[in-house]
Every structure is written in C-alpha cells, then in structure tokens.
C-alpha cells in the first residue's frame, strides 16, 4: 500500500508544481531545462522507492504512475472542464499583425519570441505578416501567416 501512496503523492505534487510553473516550462527545452528534469527525476526517486529497492516495489510504483496517467487521460477525454483545468486553453497573442500586449505580458512571452516562431515556421520577419499567433497548450507558439492580397 505504501508504494501506491508514495507514487500517488509524487504524481499529484509533480502535476501541481508543473502546472503552477506554467505550460511554457515544457516547451523550448534549453540545456538547463534538461538538467532540471534529470535533477527532478533524481530527487523524486528516493521518495518514490523509500528504502525498498526490490523489483516488486519498482513494478508497483511504475504500475501506479502509468495507471494514474491512463486514468487522468480517460477523465480528460470525457470531462471537458477537467481537461481545461489540467491542460489549459490556447491564447491568441497576435491578430492581423497587431500584437496584444496585455496577453503577451500575462502569458510571460516576448514579442521577439513570437517573431522567432514566425521565422522558424514560416520564414516571416515582420509582425504585420502574421495573421494569427497562438500560444498553444503545449507551450509552442503557432503562427498563421497572412494571405497575400
């Protein structure tokens, strides 16, 4: 029972902390983000296993974590409000070449990041070439170019 409770506590704590730190944490992974993920894994390992390093305990912990993940996905697929709370919603940052400063500030994005996404995805270099820039739930910025007149 202890293995299941440990896995459950760690799953809830990690889900909450990653949700608090914001969806952008999981996109644009830098070298430091990668190291951070390794350190988080290392820090949770002991708490997950305790002093029991048996194969049985490892299997129980993995089964609980995967089971929780499947259960959460199942609930999200059937209950839209849960999906919104856990995943968030897309946010429009630029419309018809006009950046929306309030949203950009609140989403903790800079205009240069939007332009970077526009360059990378469509080779656009100016804000007025963007029809829509949307901060997706995955943390990426989707850019839709304006159609040529």
């Amino acid at each position: 029972m202890e293995s299941v409770l440990r896995a459950l506590a760690i799953y809830v704590a990690l889900t909450l902390m990653f949700r608090i730190t914001g969806r952008r944490s999981m996109s644009h992974i830098t070298t430091f983000d990668f190291v951070l993920l390794l350190v988080v894994g290392e820090a949770t390992q002991q708490a997950l296993l305790g002093e029991d390093f048996s194969i049985t305990n490892a299997v129980l912990v993995i089964a609980t974590l995967l089971g929780l993940d499947v259960a959460i996905r199942w609930i999200k697929a059937r209950h839209e409000p849960v999906d919104r709370i856990l995943e968030g919603l897309p946010t429009i940052l630029v419309v018809d070449g006009r950046p929306l400063p309030d949203r950009i500030r609140e989403a903790r994005i800079s205009e240069s990041e939007i332009l970077q996404s526009a360059r990378e995805s469509h080779g656009l270099t100016r804000m007025d070439e963007i029809r829509l820039a949307v901060l997706e739930v995955s943390g990426t910025i989707a850019v839709i170019p304006r159609r040529p007149q």
Binding site: R19, P90, I92, V95, D96, E106, V134
Partner: protein, 168 residues
C-alpha cells in the same frame, strides 16, 4: 471594446480568456506559495533549521535534552542529552513510549555499556566521564513512521517529555 477580427479568431481557436486569466492568477498564487515553502524550509519548518530546534529540562534540573521537534521520515536526527551526575556509578538512561515504538536509535556517542529492552522501554547504561559534573550523550534517532511521536526520556527520577513531528 469589441474587435471583430479578434472575436472571430478567438472562436476558431477555442480561446476563453476569462478562464485563462484565472489560470494565470492561480499560477501567480502558486509561485507565491512555492516562495513561502522555500522560506519556511530555510527557517527549518520542515526540519534541519532554527524553527525545528527544541530543548527541555527536567523539573529537578538534572536532565537537559535538545532535539529536533520536526523531522522527516528516513532522515536521522540528533538527540543531545546532558545528565548531571548526582551519585557515583554508571548513568542509566531510559527511552519510553513513542521513543521506543515509533523511533529507532541508529547509533550514538558514547556507546552504551549495556542495553536492555522491555515492552515500551529501552534502557541504556553509560560509563560516566571521570571528574566531570555533567555527562553528555548523543543519540541518533530515525523515525519509523510519519506522524506525532511522543515519548519520555528519563535518567533516575528526572524525566523529560520529547515530542517530534515526523513528516512523510
């Protein structure tokens, strides 16, 4: 002010700005919560800092104990005991109740000359330091379950109540 282009884009994308603003507010509260957590951790609210240190003295003043009142499961903490030698001969130290059932003694200094165990009680006998009025004994404690541990430490007729909150 209504913006038709924005409203249309918002509808296509499935945006709900009011909801998203709530999420951002929740995140800001979360950052504040994490900052408070870090400050509390530095102050020792989760063990290992000034807030967690406790000390007590027996009514007759012959037994002094300093310990960490907040502890974490799997981490060993130190119980620092000072005993005034009222009579010549070996020092007898007794751990009772929660200090026997919910905590294990994982070493210490000096090593006891002998140890006894009965239900709800551990007895330890130490050689007294020659020529000193006070003897000092360090015990490393390791909690075996989370929750409140409440026990008594006794030497002769002197008794000190020790309470430890063990975090999971």
């Amino acid at each position: 002010m209504s913006d038709p282009a924005l409203d249309e884009a918002s509808r296509i994308v499935g945006e709900d700005l009011a909801f998203q603003r709530k999420v951002w507010r929740f995140q800001r509260l979360g950052w504040f919560g994490m900052a408070v957590l870090i400050l509390l951790a530095m102050a020792g609210a989760f063990g290992g800092g000034p807030l967690s240190y406790a000390s007590a003295r027996s009514d007759d003043g012959a037994l002094e104990v300093a310990w960490e009142r907040i502890e974490r499961l799997g981490r060993s903490s130190e119980l620092r005991i000072r005993i005034r030698q009222l009579a010549p001969g070996p020092l007898e130290l007794r751990l009772e109740e929660g200090l026997v059932e919910d905590v294990e003694v994982a070493g210490g200094q000096p090593r006891p000359v002998s140890e006894t165990r009965a239900p709800g009680r551990i007895g330890m006998r130490f050689e007294p330091p020659p020529g000193e009025q006070w003897a000092e004994i360090l015990l490393n404690l390791r909690a075996t379950r989370p929750g409140l541990v409440s026990g008594t430490l006794a030497a002769g007729a002197s008794r000190v109540r020790v309470r430890i909150v063990v975090l999971p």
